[in-house]
Each structure stands twice: as structure tokens, then as C-alpha cells.
């Protein structure tokens, strides 16, 4: 595995993907703030959650970059379109699993139980549509870009 490529391009791809999602949030196309959702797993303090979540998000980006690199190694090839396909699969898995997030997120409420003392965060719902009807689109686009960057710049060894 090309460790240097994973560290460099995994980091860049994560930052670009985050920027795409943040931009989409800024213009009102989605409210799926992954740093906020991840950070609130560990703390109810918004300020700490945003900071912590951004760190976890970055670590996740690297972790998935290792997964992408492993896939490239097993295929003995890396290219933008292979990366894009992996990104599409990645996004699909994430979006499909979203409705189950309240099962593992200690501060996420459910429609069945309603808001409680600890669980008060709006759940994502099917394909995260509760966070805006364009959320699946931008979830997909951001992951396609993530995959394309790693696929383009990763060199199989």
C-alpha cells in the first residue's frame, strides 16, 4: 500500500468532500452536518461537539482512504472512475444506513419515542431526507468527489 498517497490524498479528499457539504449547507441544500452529528455522539456541548466532530470526521476520512487504497491494491489499478464507483458505493451504504443511526447515536431521538432528556437530535430518516430533500444528492456528489480524488492520485504499488 502507498502510505504516503493515502495520507496526502486521503486528507485532501476529505477536506474537499467536507467543503462541498459545507457549501451545500451554506446555500441551504442540506443540513447534514457530519461533524455536528459525529461530535454529539460524545458530548452535548455544541461548541465541543463541533470541534470534536470535525476531528472525528477527518479521522474517518483517512480510515476510508485506507479502505479505498486496499481496493485499488486488490484491483491492481487506480483511476478516477474506479474511485468514483467506490465513492458511489460508499455513499449508497452511508445513506442506506442513515435511518439506523438513532440505534447507535446516544443523543438522537426517534419518531417512535419522541424527544427525551438525552435523546433530542432530529433523526436523519430515509436517505437522510429529514436533513433536506437534496441531501441524498449532495451526499452522493461529495462521496463521488472524494473517491475521484483518491482514485486519480493514488499510485498502486
Amino acid at each position: 500500500m502507498n502510505l504516503m498517497d493515502v495520507l496526502v490524498w486521503g486528507g485532501i479528499a476529505t477536506v474537499v468532500m467536507t467543503a462541498v457539504l459545507e457549501g451545500a449547507m451554506y446555500v441551504g441544500w442540506t443540513r447534514m452536518s457530519l461533524p455536528f452529528i459525529l461530535g454529539t455522539i460524545f458530548t452535548g456541548d455544541r461548541r465541543k461537539a463541533a470541534f470534536l466532530g470535525a476531528g472525528i470526521h477527518l479521522v474517518n476520512g483517512y480510515a476510508f482512504a485506507f479502505g479505498y487504497a486496499a481496493a485499488f491494491q486488490s484491483l491492481h489499478a487506480a483511476s478516477w472512475w474506479i474511485g468514483t464507483l467506490l465513492g458511489a458505493a460508499h455513499a449508497t451504504v452511508v445513506l442506506v444506513l442513515m435511518p439506523y443511526l438513532p440505534s447507535v447515536h446516544p443523543r438522537m431521538a426517534t419518531e417512535h419515542d419522541g424527544p427525551g432528556a438525552r435523546r433530542a437530535l432530529q433523526p436523519p430518516g430515509f436517505f437522510a431526507l429529514n436533513y433536506g430533500h437534496r441531501t441524498p444528492l449532495f451526499g452522493l456528489v461529495s462521496h463521488l468527489i472524494y473517491g475521484a480524488i483518491i482514485g486519480t492520485f493514488y499510485h498502486v504499488v
Binding site: 459545507e22 449547507m25 451554506y26 446555500v27 441551504g28 441544500w29 443540513r31 447534514m32 452536518s33 455536528f36 452529528i37 454529539t40 458530548t43 452535548g44 456541548d45 455544541r46 461548541r47 461537539a49 463541533a50 443523543r107 431521538a109 426517534t110 419518531e111 417512535h112 419515542d113 419522541g114 424527544p115 427525551g116 432528556a117 438525552r118 433530542a120 437530535l121 432530529q122 433523526p123 436523519p124 430518516g125 429529514n130 436533513y131 433536506g132 430533500h133
Partner: protein, 646 residues
């Protein structure tokens, strides 16, 4: 005070401006009518787009009402020393009480609970008999331009999807679509002792946190009331007008944006200064003209942390335009506040246009230099310190004053006509230089010009004012050099320290201002043509200025009469807007208005200070204060609000 429904219809639809009370969380605020309707709320902060704006357009603006079904009368009050509003409705069948607030959270005491970005929490309790109550929520985002998608989410309530903006409405009353727009409505019959809660939470660019109901909601009400009381405990005012001063300080705190320390001029836009005349402005920004009085009030009443934060905002915001100052800035110091009209809104009682942004940002007002430098002086005089960058900034503003004081300007009233040599502007330039010399004497800053040069310029300013800004025939200072008109800003010459408040010239000016601008015990701010249609109301703060000046002259009885007369025009919960209709006594202009409340507090404080001591015969001298800083409630912001704003 009671209120009968149906009054609105006879008045042309919307309630009088004075029918509204304010609730808020220091980052945004809502106006609640006597009928239990929230007709104004902007998100995610004061100057964001509106979610409820029936105040400016009953059909398109959006409304959130909780009230009895059928006929009722209402009375209301704030819970003592809080911004928690309590409205009591009396119906033929019973009595219910509505408690309205925007909860304020202290992250240290939230026990790890995730709290909403903003929440409007409403509790309705049946006190007697049996009363059917209804809840109606019909939000419209972006000043009524966007009708949100809405859907039911089981026990999480109703979800209103407005793009980046998001609302969750949860109630222990069953809600159903109204069938028009995005509105949801529900009703329930309450018996004595029963209560229901309604929570509307919001988020911007993140998932929304849903409000818990029941006992948890009661705890949020109690915690918020405690937070406000704890904050107000630091008020050191001990005079006769404790209630009025407390309400004013609570209102000022509500308008103070904690992420930056900025204090907004008012919480609304386009409530008219004259109904139907086009005198409708957006006041959801921070005006530098209020700076000096704001600092005085905060520091002298025991709110040193707020004073320090305010000065920090002043000096941070003005770096963007240094060495020049603009008339107004937003809460983060941004200056691009271009004015535009919201053509789709009908306006309050047809008062169009509805404006957002403010064209006064392009004006030149020389008085603001004196305001900012005097605020810095007051801060230092009360024991504060400036860092070297702040000191250089203040000194740099002084350079601008030396270069610019001979220019005409628009004056503090932002008259949209030709620039003139406004007397009060020149006087504030004199004040700016005077305070700079004081700051240099204290060793706080070093001026690039010699003391002799600055004193020479001060003499030149004074000569100009005394020769061109004084009219022998009138026996008064005049609004601008060589003119024959007066304005109420001239009273500030004796308050801000340019002139001895008890001098013959100030007494003459006061007489002339009263003769020319007084109406039924109130004052217009000016009487000259301001190139706008219609006639605005009496200006709320001006009567308080007169009371303060009288107190400084030692004319306490007259000051008290003047103060109490003006204070009587507050609405039933003690709030002031910018102006007062002299004929009807109704409030006019944006609500609540920080400027008017500042004037009230400053006058009340001066009356208290002047009682039992000789009148002032010199310009103001430094005063002392007890600035307690321990165990203060934390600021209301629970998110890094400045990190991501539209």
C-alpha cells in the same frame, strides 16, 4: 390592562405596536401580541430572514398563535426581573395563563444535554373553569417568500423544512394541517390545573434539536427565569425608578449579541415612524451614535463585562473601516448593509415599503467619533485598560477628527438631504479631542500631534460653534451653523460634556427646544424638513434627555416630572419603541428600541445621582462604579454563531 379581541379589526388589521411584548435569547427575539400571537421572529439571529412576520403582512408573513378559542380579554406581565412573559386570558368559561419565553442555556448547568440552537417555548395552564385553547403555527421563511414543506414525524412533532433553516414543532396537543400554506392547527379543552406545552425549535445548517415537553419544559422555564434574575442582580441602580430601569436593562441585554458584544438599535424592521408615510427603516444593526451613552449606562449600573464586550465590539468592528467610522455596522462589524425593499410584503397597516438593510450606512456622521472615543474614555476612567492596538486605533480616530471636523455631515438624525455643519456633530468632535487628551494624560495612548495643536483645534471648534452654531435672536444653539432651526440633539451639548449643563446658553437652548419642538409634554427630534413625506411622532429619547439635563442643572422636581411623563408612554409591560404618536399616545417605530431605553436609564440614574447634591456647573466628571464580575450568568450563545452565518 385588558384587551378585547376585535379591537384589531376596528384599527385596520394589525394590533397597535404597543400591543407587543418581546421575548428573546440574546441572539434573536420574538414579538408576542396581547392575543398570544407571535407575529415577528427572525432566524438564526436578529437580522436573519423572518419566520413569522404577520407584523408586516398578515397574509404572507407567518404567525404562531396560542390562545383561547372564542372571546377573551387578556392582561400580561413579565415574571419579575425576567424576560419571561405571562399573558392571562379571561374567557366566559374560565381563565388560562400563557407563559412565553425563548430559553437561555448555560452549558455549565445543562448536564450534558444537547440543547436547541433556538427555541420558542410556550406553556398554557388553565387556572379556573374550562377553556378550549388552540395552537396555530404557520411559518414562512425568508420574509414570507418561502412556504416550507411540512410533515408529521410521529412523536417528534411537525417538521418544517426551509432549506438551511429548519423548524420542529412539538406539542402535547394533537395538530393537523390547516389546509392552506404550511400551517398546522390543534385545539384542546383544558380544565382547572391542567397545562400543555408547545415547543418550536430551530436550526441553521445542521439537524434540529427537538424540545422535550412536560416537566423538562417547566425546568427550562424556571432555569431561564433564574438566568435573567441572576443577570439583573448585578444592577446597582437604587433610585426611585427601579422597575423602569430593570425592564430597560433587561431589554438592552436581550438586544446584546453575546458572540460579539454588539447592541442592536432595535429588533425589528419597518415598523413605521408615521403610518403610511414611508418612514420605515431597518434597525436591526448597531449604531455608533449610541456608543457613549451605552458605555455610561453599562459601567455605571454595574454591568462591566457587558461594557467591556461592547467596547471590544466597537473597536473590533471599526477596524474594518479604520481610520473612518461608518454610521452603523452589523453584529459582526460588517458594513455592507445595502438597503432594499421587500415589495411582496404589505407593511405594517399598509406602511410600505418594507426595508431590509439601511442606507444610512453610507452617510457621514462626525458625531460618531466623539461617541466612540468618549466610550473608550469612560471605560478607562472606570478602571478598564486598552491594549496597544486599541490605543493606536483610538488615536487614529483622533487624527480623522482633526482632518474632518470642518466638513459638513448628515448629523445624528441621518437626514437624507444635503450635508450641513450640524452643531451637535461639531460638539462631539470637540468631545473626541477632549477625551483624547484625557486618555493621553492617563498614559493610555500617545498622540502624534502635540497637545498645543489639539488644544488649538479644540478652540477652533468651540469658536465655530459659539459664533456660527449660536443664534442671538433665538437665544439658543441652532441645529446647523447659520440656521434658524433647533433640534433635540442640542440637549446633548450639556449632557456629553461640551457645555456646562447649567450655563445660560444651555438653559436658553433648552427653552427654545421646548418652545419649538414640544408637543403635549413630549419632544419632536426636529421640526425642519427632512425631505420625507408625512410627520413622524415625538422622539422617545428626547424627553429623557431633557429630564437628564434638568437633573444635571439641579432642577430635580422638573426632571422628575419630565421623566415620569415620558415613562408613562411605555406600553403595558414597560417597553418603548423609537417614537410616540403625540395624539393617540401609541408607540411608533421599531420595537423595542435600545436608544429610548438607554435614555430612560441614563436619566433615571442622573436623577438619582443629582438628588441631595449641588447642581453640576462643570462638564461631567468621572464617576465610580461597583463592577461586579463574579459568578455572572454565562452568555446566551450556545453555538459558535459567528462560524457559519448566511
Amino acid at each position: 390592562m385588558t384587551h378585547e379581541p376585535g379591537d384589531e379589526a376596528s384599527r385596520g388589521g394589525q394590533p397597535p405596536i404597543g400591543d407587543y411584548a418581546v421575548i428573546g435569547d440574546c441572539r434573536t427575539m420574538a414579538l408576542v401580541s396581547k392575543e398570544g400571537a407571535i407575529d415577528w421572529l427572525c432566524l438564526p439571529r436578529f437580522d436573519g430572514g423572518s419566520v413569522f412576520a404577520a407584523l408586516l403582512d398578515e397574509e404572507r408573513g407567518g404567525r404562531f398563535a396560542v390562545r383561547p378559542v372564542g372571546a377573551f380579554s387578556s392582561s400580561r406581565r413579565y415574571l419579575t426581573d425576567t424576560n419571561v412573559l405571562e399573558t392571562t386570558f379571561r374567557t366566559p368559561h374560565g381563565v388560562v395563563r400563557l407563559t412565553d419565553l425563548m430559553p437561555v442555556h448555560d452549558p455549565r448547568r445543562d448536564g450534558g444535554r444537547l440543547q436547541p440552537d433556538h427555541e420558542v417555548l410556550r406553556r398554557i395552564e388553565c387556572l379556573e373553569g374550562e377553556v378550549e385553547v388552540e395552537v396555530m403555527c404557520d411559518p414562512r421563511f425568508d420574509y414570507g417568500r418561502r412556504v416550507p414543506r411540512s410533515k408529521e414525524m410521529g412523536k417528534l412533532g411537525i417538521h418544517f423544512d426551509g432549506g438551511a433553516d429548519d423548524l420542529m414543532l412539538v406539542a402535547d396537543i394533537t395538530l393537523a394541517p390547516t389546509g392552506s400554506g404550511s400551517g398546522w392547527r390543534g385545539a384542546a379543552t383544558l380544565h382547572g390545573g391542567e397545562k400543555r406545552h408547545v415547543s418550536l425549535t430551530s436550526a441553521w445548517a445542521e439537524p434540529t434539536v427537538v424540545g422535550e415537553l412536560g416537566e423538562a419544559a417547566d425546568r427550562r422555564i424556571d432555569a431561564t427565569a433564574k438566568w435573567w434574575r441572576s443577570w439583573l442582580q448585578h444592577c446597582s441602580y437604587e433610585g426611585t425608578y427601579r422597575d423602569e430601569v430593570s425592564r430597560s436593562m433587561l431589554t438592552l441585554k436581550l438586544l446584546t449579541y453575546p458572540a460579539s458584544g454588539a447592541i442592536l438599535a432595535a429588533g425589528t424592521t419597518s415598523l413605521p415612524e408615521a403610518v403610511g408615510a414611508g418612514r420605515n427603516w431597518d434597525y436591526r444593526y448597531c449604531w455608533l451614535r449610541d456608543a457613549s451613552m451605552t458605555m455610561e449606562v453599562l459601567l455605571h449600573l454595574g454591568f462591566a463585562p457587558e461594557g467591556e464586550a461592547f467596547l471590544g465590539w466597537l473597536l473590533h468592528a471599526t477596524r474594518l473601516t479604520f481610520p473612518k467610522l461608518q454610521v452603523l455596522y452589523d453584529v459582526y462589524g460588517r458594513t455592507d448593509r445595502r438597503e432594499s425593499d421587500l415589495e411582496h410584503l404589505a407593511g405594517y397597516r399598509g406602511s410600505r415599503p418594507v426595508r431590509v438593510g439601511n442606507a444610512a450606512s453610507d452617510q457621514l456622521q462626525l458625531d460618531v467619533y466623539g461617541e466612540v472615543i468618549d466610550a473608550a474614555w469612560t471605560f478607562v476612567d472606570q478602571g478598564g485598560s486598552l491594549d496597544s492596538a486599541e490605543a493606536r486605533l483610538i488615536a487614529g480616530l483622533g487624527e480623522t477628527v482633526l482632518r474632518s471636523w470642518r466638513q459638513p455631515d448628515n448629523g445624528m438624525w441621518e437626514v437624507r438631504g444635503p450635508r450641513r455643519h450640524f452643531t451637535q456633530s461639531k460638539a462631539m468632535c470637540w468631545v473626541a479631542l477632549d477625551r483624547l487628551l484625557r486618555l493621553q494624560e492617563r498614559g493610555v495612548l500617545t498622540l502624534s500631534r502635540s497637545r498645543a495643536v489639539i488644544e488649538r483645534e479644540m478652540r477652533a471648534i468651540r469658536d465655530a460653534i459659539e459664533s456660527h452654531g449660536w443664534n442671538d435672536r433665538l437665544g439658543s444653539y441652532v441645529a446647523w451653523f447659520g440656521g434658524e432651526d433647533v433640534d433635540a440633539a442640542l440637549l446633548l451639548l450639556g449632557i456629553e460634556g461640551y457645555e456646562d449643563p447649567g450655563s445660560e446658553r444651555m438653559r436658553g437652548t433648552m427653552r427654545c427646544v421646548r418652545d419649538r419642538l414640544e408637543i403635549d409634554g413630549l419632544l419632536y427630534r426636529y421640526g425642519y424638513d427632512d425631505h420625507l413625506p408625512g410627520r413622524e411622532g415625538a422622539f422617545g429619547i428626547c424627553e429623557f434627555w431633557e429630564a437628564e439635563l434638568l437633573a444635571r442643572q439641579g432642577r430635580i422636581d422638573e426632571a422628575v416630572r419630565s421623566f415620569e411623563h415620558a415613562a408613562d408612554f411605555a406600553n403595558d409591560v414597560g417597553l418603548f419603541s423609537e417614537e410616540i404618536d403625540p395624539e393617540s399616545g401609541e408607540l411608533l417605530g421599531n420595537l423595542p428600541q435600545a436608544f429610548t431605553h438607554l435614555g430612560l436609564v441614563s436619566a433615571a440614574n442622573q436623577i438619582a445621582r443629582s438628588r441631595g447634591r449641588p447642581p453640576e456647573h462643570k462638564a461631567r466628571t468621572p464617576r465610580t462604579t461597583e463592577a461586579e464580575t463574579e459568578d455572572r450568568p454565562r452568555e446566551a450563545a450556545v453555538v459558535p454563531d459567528g462560524a457559519a452565518q448566511p
